[in-house]
């Protein structure tokens, strides 16, 4: 039972999980507006975690990012951090935050991928393939084959456009930055009510990521 609360509980002061989308200067940070609400819906469906029904958008150049230990960053365009954004991302990761970056393009080694990975490497350290048996793939649901493929990936039809691994930056064995080239932003960009059309909810992996961020 929760104690009575004095005053309005805003996301700033409540301790619920809040999906925070990073707003950055250089690109189309808002290219996947439905992902936030869809994943929030999924967290509520599968867990009893306290979750805010109102995802937020937080500027990467502002120290407000430190209020939200889970941050999602996506886009199609080049990612170039400003000095303020770089400092905030560095502090965010150093203090224990979890940054989830997803390339909204479904391509190989495109402009977003090259620029984002360069910025992340310069800011947070070496980025490498995450093994497909990492505990990220078993935090809530089990994904024995690693990251689930998305509908936007071509499944090995000679063009090798399937990204077999996610990539990550680790600190003391913990994932602090998770990088995806699999375009989950497109995969999860739909109204939450339309989950009922799916035989298997494709946002389950997103819930795994959130549970990992909250428990590891």
């Amino acid at each position: 039972m929760n104690p009575p609360v004095t005053g309005h509980q805003s996301p700033v002061t409540s301790s619920e999980f809040v999906w925070a989308t990073a707003q950055y200067e250089s690109g189309d940070w808002d290219s996947a507006p439905l992902v936030a609400i869809n994943l929030t819906d999924s967290v509520a469906r599968y867990t009893s975690l306290r979750v805010s029904a109102s995802p937020v958008i937080v500027s990467l150049g502002s120290s407000d990012v430190l209020r939200y230990p889970f941050l999602f960053l996506t886009g199609h365009l080049p990612v170039r951090f400003t000095e303020a954004e770089r400092a905030n991302v560095r502090a965010f990761v150093d203090r224990g935050g979890f940054l989830f970056v997803d390339d909204h393009n479904h391509d190989i080694d495109g402009v977003f991928h090259k620029t984002a990975t360069e910025e992340l490497r310069r800011t947070c350290g070496a980025i490498a393939d995450l093994p497909n048996n990492h505990e990220l793939y078993s935090t809530l649901f089990r994904f024995p084959d690693g990251p689930p493929t998305t509908g936007h990936e071509l499944n090995g039809w000679g063009d090798n456009l399937v990204h077999k691994n996610l990539q990550a930056i680790l600190r003391n064995g913990r994932v602090v930055v998770l990088y995806s080239s699999k375009d989950y932003s497109s995969e999860w960009s739909y109204h939450p009510e339309n989950k009922r059309f799916q035989a298997i909810d494709n946002t389950r992996f997103g819930v795994n990521v959130i549970v990992y961020a909250l428990t590891r």
Partner: protein, 427 residues
């Protein structure tokens, strides 16, 4: 050339002197025997002790001290006193002081030193490697040192007090339980980073938990302490009261105190949640994360209030049979770690580690209060209260010396008078 009158006057004077000497000699012989007190000071005590022990004609001794002798010296003085030697001591300049040092239960180690001495003196804490800290302010101080070599020496002026530090016992595991969320994540992270071995159970859904470690029943053989992060954690924790009774420790954080399961451990109640005013920084130690559920001690068994913020108790502690209970008002300390500033991560970690160490079960026996820990008290215990300082007579005023001197004077006066008479021609 002296005249006959002069010689005659000199004779009379000499007779007077001889008479006076005789009277004084008789009076000196008749006076009651003075007690022979042998006085030793700090510098001569080491030489005096064996002499006092060997000499047969020592009536009484007096130790006039500026500093307390070492344990061996005190024991020797006590033995002399018990052996029948009249023992007294004085030491008006010796400060009353006390020293205690005990190891921290934190995995990173450390020693807490409690020291007391008159505030006016120069007070320095040292170890085998040299000075560690100079204490200022009130007469008592508590200082935590991350590292100490050898024992601890506390000096007030020139008087030292010394204690050894008991070895720290083996650190057991800590169990953390509560709803999955940022507070659980960062509290477990802080404790693990501080070196604690953590078992954890965080609740994801009514049917599923995320666990770590071979979760066992709460037992002091396995766990030093249990941290209940919220009411959900408190509700599901079994055997907490028995665990604390047996010597374990429990930390009640956030709204954990609202659970009836832990009511028997508390002598306070949890008040309504308060939020920090707009603009408050998360690292502000008044808030440690922007919200808190203040604690209100209830009578009659009031807890020790360890921290107050804004007039509200935010950290309280009490003993419960063999164990300890600490309650925190804070429920969002993770904000302090994330948004508190450059050093917030380290501070958050150190704070949580100290809180858990404060309740952790420890199998180490309290260190005995050794002779060196409270020097003046040790002296009192061995020799009783002090006597006023003894002013030893100068040697030449001792009865035997006076008797000899008066005898010589009498003889000399008589001899001189005889010689003057003979010189005058008289017999």
């Amino acid at each position: 050339m002296p005249s006959r009158v002069d010689r005659w006057r000199a004779e009379r004077a000499l007779r007077l002197v001889a008479f006076a000497s005789l009277m004084a000699w008789i009076a000196n012989a008749a006076r009651p025997a003075l007690a022979r007190v042998d006085v030793a000071t700090d510098s001569s005590l080491n030489e005096a002790l064996p002499r006092w022990t060997r000499a047969a004609n020592v009536d009484s001794v007096h130790a006039q001290l500026d500093t307390v002798p070492d344990a061996a010296g005190i024991a020797w003085l006590g033995a002399l006193a018990r052996g029948g030697v009249g023992m007294s001591w004085s030491g008006p300049g010796i400060p009353a002081m006390a020293l205690e040092a005990f190891p921290s239960a934190e995995p990173a180690g450390g020693v807490t030193v409690l020291a007391g001495a008159p505030a006016a003196s120069v007070r320095v804490v040292s170890d085998a490697l040299g000075p560690l800290d100079t204490l200022v302010g009130g007469p008592t101080s508590a200082v935590r040192f991350a590292s100490l070599e050898g024992g601890v020496t506390f000096t007030s002026g020139i008087q030292p007090a010394r204690v050894g530090v008991a070895p720290r016992g083996a650190t057991r595991r800590v169990l953390v339980t509560g709803a999955a969320g940022w507070e659980a994540k960062f509290v477990v992270a802080a404790l693990e980073e501080a070196g604690w071995m953590v078992d954890a159970r965080v609740f994801i859904s009514p049917d599923h938990d995320v666990t770590q470690g071979a979760l066992a029943a709460l037992d002091t053989a396995r766990y030093s302490a249990v941290v209940l992060l919220d009411s959900a954690g408190a509700e599901r924790a079994r055997g907490v009261e028995r665990f604390v009774r047996d010597g374990g420790g429990v930390v009640l954080a956030g709204d954990a105190g609202l659970s009836p399961r832990v009511a028997s451990l508390m002598s306070w109640r949890v008040l309504k949640r308060e939020l920090a005013p707009l603009g408050t920084l998360a690292g502000d130690t008044s808030w440690r994360g922007l919200s808190r559920l203040p604690l209100q001690p209830t009578s009659p068994a009031r807890p020790v209030v360890l921290e107050r913020r804004g007039g509200r108790a935010t950290l309280v502690a009490r003993r419960h049979h063999g164990g300890r209970v600490v309650a925190l008002a804070y429920d969002q300390t993770w904000r302090w770690r994330m948004a508190g500033g450059d050093s917030s991560r380290v501070e958050h970690r150190a704070w949580w580690s100290r809180v858990v160490a404060g309740v952790a079960f420890r199998s180490v026996a309290s260190s005995d209060v050794t002779t060196g820990a409270a020097p003046l008290a040790s002296l009192y215990a061995a020799l009783g209260p002090p006597s006023p300082s003894v002013r030893a007579l100068p040697l030449f005023l001792s009865p035997s010396a006076l008797s000899n001197a008066l005898g010589v004077l009498l003889f000399a006066a008589l001899l001189a008078e005889w010689w003057l008479r003979r010189a005058r021609g008289a017999r």
